[in-house]
């Protein structure tokens, strides 16, 4: 399964994002991102199936969870 990682900035927001997505049937998990690929250093994100990204992003926007595509493009 192809997966995508979204950076959400902190472990707290990652935990929140995972729960929000679970409520709409999207499975995601909290991951720590590679420091050499982040501008500000240690940060957390969520990993989910690429097929769910569009729906997930829409939900995160509605719930005001800031996110960035990772690795940052």
């Amino acid at each position: 399964m192809q997966t995508t990682v979204l950076s959400v900035g902190s472990v707290t927001y990652a935990m929140k994002a995972v729960r929000i997505l679970r409520r709409i049937g999207i499975q995601a998990k909290t991951v720590k991102l590679d420091t050499n690929k982040t501008a500000k250093g240690c940060t957390h994100g969520i990993e989910l199936a690429t097929r769910d990204v569009f729906r997930a992003v829409k939900e995160l926007q509605q719930q005001q969870i800031p996110y960035e595509r990772y690795p940052f493009l």
Binding site: S10, T12, Y13, K16, T30, K32, K40, G41
Partner: protein, 374 residues
Amino acid sequence: MRATVYLDHAATSWPKPPSVHKAMREAIVRFGGNPGRSAHTLSMGAADVVFQAREAVAELLGIRRPEQVVFTMNATYALNTAIKTAIRSPCHILLSDIEHNAVLRPVHALVEQLGVEYSVFSTEGDIYSNICHAIRADTRMLVSTLASNVTGREIPLSVLSRIRREYGLYTVADASQLLGHAPVSLSEDPVDVLCAPGHKGLFGAMGCGFAVYEDTPPYTLIEGGSGSESRETGMPQRLPERLEAGTLPVPSIASLTAGISYITGIGLNNIRQKTDQITEQLQRELSAMDGIHIVGSVGHGIVSFVSERYSPEELARELDRYSICTRAGLHCAPLAHKTFGTQDSGTVRLSASHTTTDEDVLLFLRAMHHILSQ
């Protein structure tokens, strides 16, 4: 050996329910990693435990954003943070006349460090009008307890919220003695920050307090590792990491979730009803004893009194010989004692909870009769 009669719940609740013991043990054994720091299972498990506690506090207080819940080591730390991260220049702060030193001392420190001025409003009569009359042109902050730790006097959150709405004051509520004794809703009565300990009415273990913020404060109190944005020299801008420098007390935080689950399972209205019944009985029986005088009003489990024959410390020591735990002295609240006229002697404070039994009350009253008849 006598059974312990515990009437010191305003200092810390005891005994803790078995679910609290279990939650602490599990946090140590099963989720022993450092939350938010590493990528391994134990660290992620600990982060999940912490987030569950944020959700539990948010639900208890009726707010939708668990990330606004900031964990601290206790309520004093939460209050210091709330007060000192909002103000960096001279202004006027308004306090109630029944504040604990957890509020009075940080505000007094700002007097010395920043040239801040403060005054106190009376909690007698119409509290809303008293606050309105005490507001000055340079008043920027209102800090108030929701319930005294010396007597049963309460200050409604709705009054503080109304003042905040009408006057735009940065409003900090100290819910240390009310949370777990009565429902509190920040969605109905929002304030800028509400602070509380985990180990009193919420039945968590000592070592964890929290502050619930409406918005991110402009300053930080301490700085350090937060597990995020490590290359930045400043703390993260977003809550809760902005105000959570250093490792969190995960076992205590886990115990808080269990404690909240325990009290919400019983029901806050049921707890209030039971505690009120005990409080009224203690007041009635003590009032009938020769040479005993109740101080102020009673409520949320608290009855404070003085004796004509014994100092508060003497009486508390005598009660301890009967395995009855009470607290004597000024209860870290000299301002409140000044308000109640007991600043020289202090009081004996009984603080019951819904776990206090009829037998506990009977044993206490019997001990009092023995002591007073000697």
